[in-house]
């Protein structure tokens, strides 16, 4: 039963299984295990990024395609919910319409980009997605009458998902039972379902063909698979799932803005999570997202400590300035691609 | 016979996961034409490419004039005096005929006298000297490819199926050019499917099958023995 749920794709390492279970339980019981607003925010972020990173891994790790437009798809879902909520008023219908519209729009755009670039060479795709994504980001910040520009959009979500809504006796194990809790579980279970869905996709015949293409697209084509068709399909699925993750993010935050959904830095975060967790493993997305987001929360504090510790040394503190955390992530990223291409999951499976 | 100019000893080459050459032993005597024969897919082209270092031998020695060149980079191998005419001709189609030839003269400007001779052997090269090589016909491209290898004197020429799909008149032209090279004292290793050309040009010959040289000897011996041809190549060359 459990094996069927994960589509027969076992973690294949005891340590990995334990870590995955710990993350699952930690996220499932997060409101009770780690009370406090900040840790709940972190847990929700991890859930959402697991889906976002897993959907990216479908493209990168399984399809062998590099995209720089994943935040664009993510943003399309987020803005879908935001715009629907602004224009249709607060309500679940707005959330559903916004999510669906975002996902469909993302899939259609992915289809167009895919047909244009993958038809010629896979490398065009990386360049074109970069161009399109940055054009869209500029457009979103310029069309302020529609999108709120740089300020983004604030909107209302159904009351049942806000802290103002209380249910049952109001408290359980000292945790207040309010709409925020419901909202968290909406995010958690949606993320879980989406992840299991992606796991099913990569373990289906479709997923196997994708991997064959990644290994040797020339041969896959020779055997008779329409490489472009498979790659484009993977891109569309990936984009739609990313958009849904964006919708969840918008529902959770009750705010969208270019910085939180479209910025290139999020794109880099996604890349890092995939590479650190392990490309082409799906479980890598879980570990990558969890490790990265927890580390990100504390890395800047750690750097501040390092900066003050080295304050007397010339120049060095500049490197540890908390604003320079991207430098270290960049170094980490390059080193992992060279020396650690299978990521944490790959290592754990090897050392089995 | 004197020392061979080139000898391969137990050469193995893989292409991706496929084991193509499985221990090739081959000698090219100095100053002669050696024909490399065999059916399609037995490793003739791979042998030439391995000598050039375009594919790497994972085992065995490639000895050129007493030196093992198996580990040298391709440009260094070429600079030791080996001219290469690949199966696909390797024409730079966006470059003019002149530019193709200029590039082939590795050690300096083109020698005018030698060019004049080559242009009289291959008249289209004179006619279309300034034209883009991509606009030449198949036979003209083949002439350009061979002429490019010949523009400077080399010690050894590796030529891969120069007569494939060409009209008889052009085949005769190419054969004439190869004879001229031989008169210069160069050695030639020639992959050839056309038997009449092979018989007319070859001094010695080696027959490959399944990644190995299965028979080597005088061309005349093979040409005169139909049963041997049948056994080595599964067909009589006379009938091919």
């Amino acid at each position: 039963m459990l094996t069927r749920l994960i589509s027969g794709d076992r973690p294949r390492s005891i340590v990995l299984t334990i870590i995955l279970l710990a993350i699952l339980i930690g996220l499932a019981l997060a409101p009770f295990l780690f009370p406090g607003i900040r840790s709940l925010e972190t847990a929700a972020r991890i859930c959402i990024f697991i889906v976002l990173v897993a959907s990216y891994d479908l493209m990168l790790g399984y399809g062998g395609i590099v995209s720089f437009a994943h935040t664009m798809f993510f943003g399309m879902g987020a803005y879908g919910v935001a715009l629907a909520s602004v224009h249709m008023g607060r309500g679940f219908d707005a959330l559903i319409v916004g999510t669906l519209a975002g996902a469909v729009a993302a899939a259609v755009l992915a289809l167009l980009i895919g047909l244009f670039s993958l038809r010629v060479r896979a490398i065009f795709f990386a360049m074109i997605t970069l161009a399109v994504a940055s054009a869209v980001a500029v457009l979103v910040s310029q069309l302020s009458s529609l999108t709120g520009g740089e300020d983004g959009l604030n909107y209302q979500i159904p009351r049942a998902l806000t802290p103002a809504f209380k249910f049952a006796d109001g408290r359980l194990f000292d945790v207040s039972l309010n709409g925020k809790l419901l909202n968290y579980y909406l995010v958690f279970f949606s993320a879980l379902i989406l992840f299991l869905l992606l796991l099913r996709i990569v373990n289906s015949p479709f997923g196997r063909v994708l991997q064959a293409i990644r290994e040797n697209d020339f041969r896959a084509e020779a055997i008779g698979y329409r490489v472009v068709y498979y790659r484009t399909a993977a891109t569309c699925i990936s984009a739609a799932v990313a958009a849904i993750a964006g919708s969840l993010f918008a529902i959770w935050l009750r705010y969208v803005g270019p910085d939180t959904t479209l910025s290139f830095e999020i794109m880099i975060d996604i890349l890092l999570m995939v590479v650190i967790g392990g490309m082409g493993t799906m479980y890598g997305a879980v570990i990558g997202a969890a490790v990265f987001i927890i580390a990100q929360n504390y890395l800047q504090e750690l750097m501040a400590v390092a900066a003050s510790a080295t304050a007397k040394v010339p120049v060095l503190p500049l490197f540890f300035d908390p604003d320079r955390w991207l430098l270290w992530l960049g170094v980490l990223f390059v080193l992992s691609v060279y020396f650690f291409p299978t990521g944490i999951v790959g290592r754990l499976r090897q050392g089995r | 016979m004197s020392d061979p100019v080139l000898s391969l000893q137990g050469v193995h080459t893989d292409i991706a996961q496929y084991h193509i050459l499985r221990g090739v032993d081959l000698e090219v005597p100095a100053g002669g034409v050696t024909m490399l024969l065999g059916r399609n897919g037995v490793g003739k082209t791979t042998t030439l490419r391995t000598i050039m270092g375009l594919w790497r031998a994972k085992e065995g020695r490639v000895v050129f004039r007493g030196e093992d060149i198996a580990a040298l980079p391709t440009p260094a191998i070429a600079r030791r005096g080996i001219g290469f005419v690949p199966e696909d001709m390797g024409i730079f189609s966006d470059l003019s005929v002149e530019e193709n030839m200029t590039l082939a003269a590795v050690s300096g400007p083109i020698d005018a006298e030698r060019l004049d001779w080559l242009q009289s052997v291959f008249p289209p090269l004179r006619t279309f000297w300034k034209k883009e090589a991509g606009t030449l016909s198949g036979g003209q491209k083949q002439m350009l490819s061979v002429a490019r290898a010949m523009i400077e004197k080399r010690r050894l020429y590796l030529i891969d199926e120069p007569t494939k799909g060409l009209a008889p008149a052009i085949v005769a032209t190419l054969a004439g050019a190869l004879r001229a090279l031989k008169q210069e004292g160069a050695s030639i290793l020639l992959v050839e499917q056309n038997f009449s050309v092979a018989k007319a040009l070859g001094d010695t010959c080696a027959v490959m099958d399944d990644g190995r040289v299965v028979w080597a000897g005088e061309m005349a011996t093979l040409a005169g023995d139909t049963a041997l041809q049948e056994r080595l190549m599964g067909l009589s060359m006379e009938s091919a």
């Binding site: 062998g64 590099v66 670039s117 490398i123 990386a126 360049m127 074109i128 970069l130 161009a131 399109v132 940055s134 054009a135 457009l139 069309l143 880099i268 890349l271 490197f319 300035d321 604003d323 991207l326 430098l327 992530l329 960049g330 170094v331 990223f333 390059v334 691609v337 060279y338 291409p341 | 375009l54 980079p73 391709t74 440009p75 070429a78 600079r79 290469f84 690949p86 390797g90 730079f92 189609s93 966006d94 470059l95 530019e99 200029t102 590039l103 590795v106 001779w117 009289s120 052997v121 008249p123 034209k131 606009t135 016909s137 490019r148 009209a167 008149a169 052009i170 005769a172 032209t173 004439g176």
Partner: protein, 343 residues
């Protein structure tokens, strides 16, 4: 010697129309200029926009040319190319600021001297950086596109952060040397002097590049290498060295483009390279990967379009380039002047 054979040599294939078709993209630039003339009401604004569009195109071309050759030669795609643009701009501007006495003087000769020193410094810095980048970042991932994209992107992030460490987090404003400020009036249109200079300089550089590629042996090797690198090696040339040289030259050109862009904008940020990369990629794709001429035409098209559209409807200026990309790829999926690859 052998007698000439008696067959009649013939040129096969291409008709006049097919030949013309190959060079059709050359007409696109004048076509776009004419369309701009029809779309923009005032002739004087059209003239101003055309000059600034050409200037912008020239600068993009300078930044993009190295990238397209590097790809053509070794199939290496460098997503970190934008880092050279930023570094070039920062080094160049630092030199200009240090040479304040030269740039502030009302003498064209002194001003130009200061700019030349800044350009030389920027190109030297980016050339060295290109050499290091090639060794450390690119060389270990030859032949693996996926890793190349990831690693060079990582390199870009690192360089950007290093710029922030060296030059601080704020954007730097500065002004052009005295004699390069201001505009001249021509046919009722105000045309900035610097833009004219940029157009002239870009044109000279393009012609010089074409000359090197057409008339020198190293140029021949590069052009042949783009088509069939294996054969170039089999002739006896060490393509790897040529490639490193082109990579370094391309990096220096990106640095030069960075300085020119900085002088055009009069403000620099660490992100400028990354922002320019979007245009550079569009140009390289529509030109045809590996083609210098295609890159030149593409850059002029992008520069002109950006200026015309920016005048008519500013908000869609960036999107217009995506539109151009789509149209060109629908017409020619490999770009305008695709390089014929041997394999």
């Amino acid at each position: 010697m052998t007698a000439a054979p008696d067959h009649a040599p013939t040129i096969t294939g291409l008709s006049t129309w097919q030949r013309m078709q190959r060079h059709l993209p050359l007409l696109l630039v004048p076509l776009l200029v004419v369309v701009g003339y029809l779309a923009i009401p005032a002739t004087s604004s059209w003239l101003t926009l055309t000059v600034s569009g050409l200037a912008m195109g020239m600068m993009i071309f300078i930044m993009a040319s190295g990238l397209t050759l590097v790809f053509g030669l070794m199939d290496v795609i460098n997503f970190g190319h934008g880092a050279f643009i930023s570094v070039g701009a920062f080094v160049g501007v630092s030199i200009l600021l240090a040479l304040g006495s030269l740039t502030g003087a009302p003498s064209l000769a002194l001003n130009i001297a200061a700019v030349l020193v800044a350009v030389a410094g920027a190109m030297a810095a980016t050339a060295v950086m290109g050499w290091i980048f090639e060794r450390v970042i690119v060389k270990p991932v030859y032949g693996a596109h996926l890793k190349q994209i990831l690693v060079t992107m990582g390199g870009l992030i690192i360089v950007e952060q290093l710029i922030l460490i060296v030059w601080g987090p704020d954007e730097i404003f500065f002004s052009r040397p005295e004699m390069l400020k201001g505009a001249i009036t021509f046919a009722g249109a105000a045309i900035e002097k610097y833009r004219l200079l940029a157009v002239g300089f870009g044109l000279v550089l393009f012609l010089a590049m074409i000359w090197v590629l057409r008339s020198t042996k190293i140029g021949l090797i590069v052009r042949a290498g783009v088509q069939n690198g294996e054969m170039v090696e089999a002739l006896g040339y060490r393509l790897r060295i040529v490639f490193v040289a082109v990579f370094i030259a391309g990096s220096a050109l990106a640095g030069l483009g960075g300085v020119m862009w900085a002088l055009y904008q009069e403000v620099i940020t660490a992100h400028m390279g990354q922002e320019m990369m979007v245009l550079v990629f569009i140009v390289v794709i529509i030109g045809g990967l590996g083609s210098v001429e295609g890159c030149f035409i593409g850059a002029l098209l992008v520069g002109l379009l950006q200026n015309y559209v920016g005048f008519i409807e500013p908000k869609v200026a960036l999107i217009s380039n995506i539109g151009l990309l789509v149209l060109i790829l629908m017409w020619r999926p490999q770009g305008m002047l695709p390089v014929v690859k041997a394999k």
